[in-house]
Symmetry: C3
Amino acid sequence: MAILKDLAELVQGTLVGDGDIEIRRVAPITEAAEGEITFIANPKYLAKLKNTRASAVILPTAVDEGRFAQIVCPNPYLAFAKILTFLQVKKPAAQGVMEGARVAASANIGEDVTIHPGCVVGEGVAIGKGTILYPGVVVYDDVTLGEDCVIHAQVSIREGSRIGNRVIVQPSAVIGSDGFGYAPDGRQYFKIPQVGIVVLEDDVEIGAGSCIDRAAMGQTLIRRGTKIDNLVQVGHNTVVGEDTIIVSQVGISGSTTIGDHCTFGGQSAAAGHLKIGDNVTIAGRGGVTKDVASGQILSGLPLMPHKEWLKASMSFGKLPEMRKEISRLKKQLEALEMSVKEK
Amino acid sequence: MAILKDLAELVQGTLVGDGDIEIRRVAPITEAAEGEITFIANPKYLAKLKNTRASAVILPTAVDEGRFAQIVCPNPYLAFAKILTFLQVKKPAAQGVMEGARVAASANIGEDVTIHPGCVVGEGVAIGKGTILYPGVVVYDDVTLGEDCVIHAQVSIREGSRIGNRVIVQPSAVIGSDGFGYAPDGRQYFKIPQVGIVVLEDDVEIGAGSCIDRAAMGQTLIRRGTKIDNLVQVGHNTVVGEDTIIVSQVGISGSTTIGDHCTFGGQSAAAGHLKIGDNVTIAGRGGVTKDVASGQILSGLPLMPHKEWLKASMSFGKLPEMRKEISRLKKQLEALEMSVKEK
Amino acid sequence: MAILKDLAELVQGTLVGDGDIEIRRVAPITEAAEGEITFIANPKYLAKLKNTRASAVILPTAVDEGRFAQIVCPNPYLAFAKILTFLQVKKPAAQGVMEGARVAASANIGEDVTIHPGCVVGEGVAIGKGTILYPGVVVYDDVTLGEDCVIHAQVSIREGSRIGNRVIVQPSAVIGSDGFGYAPDGRQYFKIPQVGIVVLEDDVEIGAGSCIDRAAMGQTLIRRGTKIDNLVQVGHNTVVGEDTIIVSQVGISGSTTIGDHCTFGGQSAAAGHLKIGDNVTIAGRGGVTKDVASGQILSGLPLMPHKEWLKASMSFGKLPEMRKEISRLKKQLEALEMSVKEK
């Protein structure tokens, strides 16, 4: 529950209408009822306001309408996210090391931490203030976890990993599994010990079931603010820059470096030992096999500018027809050659 | 162990031969021995009957053979599955809340439930009669689980998920992980709280390691009878219809709606906010980027009718030759133009 | 810590220089300091030796340099892996069944085993000498685990699986999940019980989050020495030969047989019921839809020889231009035909 004017202040928006009304929660525009706030991010949906029963609406520009109050701000989607967080996300009260959790004697557990039953925390681990481990989390020896992290059920964090503040890890993700490295010995493969670590900087989020391999030597590094979706693979010694978005089922091979503010679409991939610049977008299913300079939007395997790929892929279905046409042209040309010769 | 005539009745098949023989188990046709039953689903394998040592065979039409008894029925594969289930699948005896499981005081646990050691069941959870949680299952607060579900080891079911009856979840699957939603704030991303839930209706099966994201608001819904294979990603607010088959490593993005009785082949994908009709088949590796009407079989990225894709893809390898031919034709034509001009 | 001459003996290399120096650890050539050993596998990096501060270098051929000692051997990469293992991989001391682990009374636990807290080991399980189960591993009934295995956190091994010696399983992998088999009953699907098992032979490694499905009947088999990366799917009744490499996010459908010493690149796939020979390489994202004879390097979907695919894929982006050229040629040819007719 909040007073509307406080929400307007929270998002630094301009209040239009009665700022003293009480707002209970956020709802989609078609479902919002009295006491609820909704939002319009895209002006093309403004017509939907006609039927909304919301008590307040977050908008990019004010509308002339008295049925609801308004918070006007340049980024309504961001304001919606902030208000939703404020109203509906309550951090559970800290419960300490709960019965049924096992924490090694040498672990250093901060204030206001919650470690649920079924968690196992190894020797030499440090866990910062306010961090929550949901049931069944396994933290191997010598891991460092920062403050206010949320580590969901069944996550494994292997030895020596270093995790920053406010990092969120969804269930069953694996941090620090062995990189995939073997030395061929004629026919068999000899495992190369993976003695490096994984570093996740502040504000990183790792999706459910995703795997971030530890480095062979040195570190695999995910920089501040990068968000990784479910079932993503990140190979050993790879570096992913800041504020990069990696969508579900992407595979990044080992020793590749990705810049800041990139986006990898679903099921895309990058081969190993590559350098990918900043602000690069790889469309879904794209496959990076060469270095990529900054600022490009690329698709396909092999990669090409997204617009070219769209055109080329539209022609793909025409291939059988093209072959027939080439064959017809050939015959037609030969016939004409004959007739010219004969003249 | 069963008497053959009882098995014939179970599958509503016609008995040919001695109905009083005892059948111990089901076996493949080449391995079946005395006391065992096998099946032929496809008439092209009838020749294999010559050497079988099975005591009984499930067949689409009777054969003139006295060495084995027969159960004749229109769908031998289904009959085989039912007989195999009857003979060889024993539900383990219920064991209640076992030592080493932790169940919150406010959880409502039905009769004949088994909750193995290492499970953690949260506040306000309801678990229906006969449901089994294998070791290490984590059920967050306020989850509802129906009757006769089988939830395998290491599965996480996050807060508020609603799961029907006879749902099977393979190990390490994640139900209700956060959807992947962020509001860009210039350069950084602000997490949009995912306050919705996941609903799995009756008779759904979720494969090992698959992730079904909770809705941003509202629900992600998998309807009755749908079967999802391993390592599949289903995004937030997505709806999958009834009796749909989703093969391994498929990725369905958020807010997409899939109809009933569809099939998604391995590694196929759908972008977000799409509508896919009923009885749609997407071939392996297909990529859905637009709405799809009911009743189609589609392949490729971009999608096209499967038969067209087969033809086009056969031509793909001819591309270099085609380019050469075009270039040759061009020269040949220019030469001819010259010679015509000269005449 | 080791004496250099002992390391030379370990890898059967030729010692050049002072064999009595002490080596503490292995380091990359640019970072190695005094007391450390590094390696050069590829002669093109020999120039980097100029600035190295390593006390010793593993090399394919001796160099004329007195600043560091040398171990000369034909496979420096393999020697590096062996020395790294020798110097830096210490097997932790056996701890037996630790407090907080649950082991069924009928389980047969070998000498020098470590079973961490949170593990659950079922009835009739046998675990060989020296094997380690990290926290949260669930071993269902009647599983056999060989000697010196390392099973990481949150791994599930379902009933009846048979696992050889020195097998490594990374966190959250699933061994023996149900195969994906259903008998269609008009509209709905009836689950086919998966009553077979999984067999992992000696020296197999399974990556984090990978899923190896149990057989419908019989067994899914991964042969000796095969290495499987993260998030890989192997379907029921599939057989993978010896010393085969399967990179991350590969999907192998059911009942397919893969030979020895194959390589599957990242995100590649094979359909079901296929036979793939020995020494086959499938490039990343390749899709196998037909049987493959031994000794080939293949790419694409449909598959073609890798070199052909490289050429064809280079032409893909030219498709729109090709269509235009065909259209131009057609017009040009028609114009020429007209002018010839007129003459």
